[in-house]
Symmetry: none
DNA sequence: TGCTAACCGAGACGGTACGTCGCGTCTTCTA
DNA sequence: TAGAAGACGCGACGTACCGTCTCGGTTAGCA
């Protein structure tokens, strides 16, 4: 029988070396140059070991980014939604900067050509963060900063759309000042809008 | 001087065969399987001919998409902004569907790993379409559908952000109904917003 | 240090398949059609594997010929020099026949355009066989068939010159009868000649 | 009808430029680097022009060598065969020196992989020179330097064999001193040998 | 002396093979 | 038995020449 590898015997040293090497190589050479062979060599690990524990180089990147990005892009709750969203959005922009060597951008790019990775990324990385965003929004609803009936899906699009729109087209990402203005507009719009019907 | 090939001698037959083959192969196998060799074979063209006229397979795709997408994603002007933007956004969504084999999606993905392609795409494909969008917006301003002072950059983000936001994360693209609701929200928001200061 | 591949890990199966395929293809199509790609395909081996172990297709041929030609062109010692040299020279002629598809002829041709291969061929293939020839000559000297003082370099030229002279110019190689007559002449000449002075 | 090119219209300028360029490139880069494209570029001639007048690059080389080698390797007749043959053999050795960039050596190498070129070379270049050699031999027979009955085919092998033997195996070609000694031996052998029977 | 057919340069074209790279699988050996 | 080392079959890469072909432009020989 084709037995799956036994996680209990897994070398934590090798695991960390792989994740670190992947991040380093991505930052150094850009993700176009990121290869399994380079990761293995840098990590002092055999290719077999990588393939034993990860299905693809995208999966390595996902795990590396997951561990590194736990703290980043967190939603703080100071009670001032505008301030908190500026912080949050600036954090997200920072994750994608510089574009050519950001491991997060690499992960997104890799997802475009590997549907199963896309699913993993969406479920493990994106959905939980959307949930955190919605939590923060509900907190803002409770404190009256935005209406109870505001559609959180719309809110998500409004806050984050500008970033990803530009990311896709390689336009300049918004700077802090622009982010601030957009946050104000979005909050104003959410206040003005009637509740969506879904 | 590094003598560039002479466009006057270029074979139009070969050019069209390459562009068509690239589009077909992309639709058939998805762009992960799209290779220069496959394009060359399908087109009945030598690899050398492709490399002579295009620097990369992304550049082939850009030219193919450019020629194919001239009509698509056009901005109509019926005088009703909401109707026109629904049409337009539905056209854009259609361009990215189905995601795994859409040549346009392929082009965006390819741009993420080839900065020079990203620049070409932005300048040749995106900027002109942004200009068309702004033209339509100014028409709406003249007819009073949206305020004179509305920030068109904000409008761009609000209209298109939702699409690209979901594209990046492989979330479901909005359907016609949702697009309609978003268009209404955005137009309402634009009416409510004070002019931006840039 | 530029790490060379580790011979201990080398696949003997692949090595033999490559050598056999090279010989077969040479015999079937002539060496003008002999390519690395064809060898790789016939052998069921990747091009990478060939390039890992041999610097050029000439080197493959050299190894193939070396292994195949160990027995051929051997010097027997029946005590009758004329008989033995006829046997030997006929063997050499056979190695170059038919000219268009003889792997040995291919090797010589390849040597003309690859100086480093020429060196390898000379040192690994030719010099040892010259040594064997000289051994046989010394045996003939001891038995008195040719004078003690005969110059073995001259003997070498006289015996083998006729073959290679014709090979170079694509003249007909000597047949058995002609070989016999030449051998007799050469032996007579060696008996008549005074010792050379080098 | 597929009409052959008309020699009357042929450009002598182009013809000479091609032959010169072939010789120069051969001397500069060795014949492994000699290509039709390089000849065409160097000569300021289109590839089409080369293919119109010559069937292969070997044929170009043959014509170039033929024109250049008319004078070289001529048989002088001072009345002293030993002296004349030393001159002649030294001339032949010079034609093949330096081995890696000698157009004559290139021509021989090219003949190994192109049987029709081999035939051309033999008939146009070699046979006439063998005839000249035999003429000189007959002159020597008339003057009594070698016996009337001497086999000129054997003489040919004996004189030239040493050179081609070494050429094939990339052994050092004989220097003047060695050539002299060999010539003396061969003449002595020819005197001693009974007439061959063909 | 003007016409016209050919050669001429230039170089794009469809091909074949090159030598390299990275993939994902595999085998061998060590700890 | 996990892990390192790395050879293996595979397939695409981008390049070099091949020999053929189409272009205008020149040029040589006939009208």
């Amino acid at each position: 029988m084709n037995s799956a590898p036994d996680p209990a015997r897994r070398s934590e040293r090798a695991r960390l070396a792989v994740l670190d090497s992947a991040m380093e190589l991505c930052r150094e050479n850009g993700f176009a140059q990121l290869t399994i062979e380079a990761i293995a060599e840098r990590a002092g690990v055999s290719k077999k070991t990588i393939y034993r524990w990860w299905p693809s180089k995208g999966a390595v990147l996902l795990e590396a980014v997951s561990e590194a990005a736990t703290a980043a892009a967190f939603h703080v709750d100071t009670g001032d939604l505008a301030v908190d969203m500026r912080t949050q959005l600036a954090g997200v922009v920072a994750l994608f900067t510089p574009r050519d060597s950001s491991p997060v951008a690499a992960l997104m790019s890799e997802s475009q050509r590997d549907p199963s990775l896309a699913t993993e990324v969406r479920e493990q990385l994106i959905r939980p963060r959307i949930a955190l965003f919605e939590e923060r929004m509900r907190s803002a609803q409770r404190s009256g900063e935005i209406p109870e009936g505001a559609d959180l899906g719309v809110a998500l699009d409004l806050f984050y759309g500008p970033i990803y729109h530009r990311l896709v087209f390689h336009l300049d990402l918004p700077d802090d000042e622009e982010l601030g203005a957009r946050v104000d507009h979005v909050i104003a719009a959410l206040r003005a809008m009637p509740a969506a019907n879904r």
